[in-house]
């Protein structure tokens, strides 16, 4: 078992260096899916100065992407409950590989690479049982499906690589069935959690959402250098009784963060993305409230800005970036946001920093 599941252990030594690099596709620092004015969908490579490095077409609306750490390859996932993902060559947009979810599974729209880029991990639903699965795909053999492990919950959504080479999985807790689309089948009994897997793919910690918050669905996560995981929730209960929507996972488990009075309600109980800017500040987007919150985990202070339809957030070398559905790319640092560019695009839910996922 252990040898077969060595995929998370430092395979770095054996990994072959890719023939091409991200520099060959215009040196993008980030990726985001977007809708073009024509209504078509595409994946864009973006630079920190707001310029675009490349555009490759997508066959349908994307959700998140996973960027290979070194080769200019991106995995674009169809939106939940999609059954395929495409490995795109970002130099010319051609589809290098198509990943089909195994019979009886569907993807949740997120994936992550191992640090050396040798393996891709995908969040999946085993439809018949509703169990959450992490699929393992081997890049060297043309993204062959080589293994799968439990996500240790229902409805795994975002998956990220931890600084120690393990994985963190946001188990949203909500069971759905492709026959009924996104209809939520188990709101009364849902129990979301954050699962931490070690480098052998074994469960090293399971942080449950406390009982009174069991309808707080964990969807999006981000990790900082010390291994603290920012957790962004989506509240499924009474919208006027919204609890804390951000938690930070650390040695003490999940610590829920209370924002200022009424802010969770203004966020409509919904966080779209979370992203650490450094070891201390977390950027949180609220597309439904049109709010971007920069939370300082050291002081507990937060800087709130109004940004219509903001959703994608990610760290950058100078602080952070945020994208919105109006085609804008914003630089975030300290208190001030600066709009770097406005494109005739609608940026989709997530902004991915190359090298981290």
């Amino acid at each position: 078992m252990q040898s077969r599941r060595g995929f998370l252990r430092g395979a770095l030594a054996t990994a072959a260096l890719p023939a091409t690099s991200w520099a060959s596709v215009g040196n993008p620092s980030h990726l985001s899916a977007a809708q073009d004015p024509s209504g078509d969908y595409a994946l864009y490579g973006l630079r920190e100065d707001g310029t675009r490095a490349f555009r490759v077409s997508l066959p349908q609306r994307g959700h998140a992407a996973a960027a290979h750490p070194s080769a200019p390859e991106a995995v674009a996932f169809a939106r939940r409950p999609g059954t395929f993902a495409l490995v795109l060559d970002c130099s010319d947009g051609h589809v290098q590989h198509r990943l089909d979810a195994p019979e009886g599974h569907h993807f949740y729209g997120h994936g992550a690479f191992s640090a050396d880029g040798a393996f891709l991990f995908t969040t999946e639903n085993h439809v018949a049982t509703g169990r959450g699965i992490v699929g393992v795909w081997d890049r060297a053999s043309g993204y062959a499906r080589i293994d799968q492990i439990s996500s240790h919950g229902i409805g795994p959504h975002e998956i990220i690589r931890m600084p120690d080479g393990g994985l963190a999985v946001a188990n949203g807790g909500i069971r759905t069935h492709p026959d009924t689309g996104r209809q939520k089948l188990n709101l009364e009994t849902m129990r979301p959690n954050l699962a931490i897997l070690d480098r052998n793919g074994r469960l090293s910690d399971l942080a449950d959402v406390p009982g009174e918050l069991h309808m707080n669905s964990l969807r999006h996560i981000s990790v900082q250098a010390q291994g603290r995981v920012a957790c962004g929730f989506q509240w499924q209960g009474d919208p006027f009784d919204t609890p804390a929507l951000l938690a930070i996972y650390g040695a003490q488990g999940l610590e829920f963060i209370e924002f200022e009075e009424g802010l969770s309600q203004r966020m409509k109980g919904y966080i779209g993305s979370v992203g650490w800017l450094d070891t201390r500040q977390v950027l949180v987007s609220s597309p439904r409230g049109g709010l971007l919150i920069n939370y300082d985990s050291m002081t507990g202070a937060s800087v709130i800005s109004r940004l219509d339809d903001v959703c994608g957030v990610a760290a950058s070398t100078t602080g952070g970036l945020a994208t919105d559905g109006l085609g804008r790319l914003h630089a975030v640092s300290g208190k001030q946001n600066v709009t770097l560019a406005s494109y005739p695009l609608a940026f989709d839910n997530h902004l991915i920093r190359i090298g981290t996922a």
């Binding site: 729209g109 200022e260 109004r306 559905g325 005739p344 839910n349």
Partner: protein, 320 residues
Amino acid sequence: MRFVFALAACLPSFAFADAQAVIDQHITPGYAKFAETASQLAETARNDCGPEAVLPAYHDTFDAWLGVSHITFGPVEKDGRGFAISFWPDPKDRVAKGIGRLVSVQDPVVNDPEAFASVSVAAQGLNALERLLIEPPEDADYACALVQAVSTALARNAATLNQEWPEYAALMVSPGNARFQSAEEVDRAIYTALSTGLEFLYDARLGRPLGTFDRPRPRRAETYRSARAQRNVVLNLAALQDLTMHFADTETPETMLHFETALTRAEALDDPDFSGVANPGKRIKIESIQSTVRELRIAVDAEIGAPMGISAGFNALDGD
């Protein structure tokens, strides 16, 4: 390959909206009226804190608040001020908890307006005042001090909004600043206030008491204690209609038709506290207001949002 597009080049013209008229004829006078009534309220309470004396001033202040309660941008965004004025819906009854905490220790904070601003926002506003006037705490002296403290807090908050509003309005009139980078953003902010105002009317003011046919929730009606749930719907509709008339430069016949229908139905209702949600004959009338508001939202979207190039957010509408 580098592409940079100017935003203005790719969006339809937005000559349809008149932000200046909204500011001058809707928001500015709305805040002035709210500040004036709240100031009267505080003065009334100072002279006579009894419910009979204060209730009319409470109603006047609430009426004035409904003229601007849908304005979600501006000084009201700061420090949860909106919640300090009106704390509803309140499923955990934090109004009662906030008041109870003060009453149980006879907290002298009621005598210090500066310090009172830092008590639970649920205990500072119109909903707290309603509770104090309709279900007063036993200790009459402390109840009186609380009525005065809450009235004063309302007057101070209303005065702050009224004072700070012009500075914010200036940012809207001359976009190209950190808050509003373009006229399009100004229009979008106003449009969002209109559409979220209608959403709140539908989901909260009408939807919460309606609940479901099998389980109506009359005690979830806004301010049912002071029997002004119906009045709030009427005034909320009137304020949103006024906003729309100043905002839209084009003809909006469907929108106006649905506003008129909804207003006529809401005014004709004889159900001040919405207890009728539990009575099938009355319930159907409240449901008909709600379905008109649904039509209204669709019309606003089509007649105002779409021509301005504003649609519900790509991410806001369809996330995951």
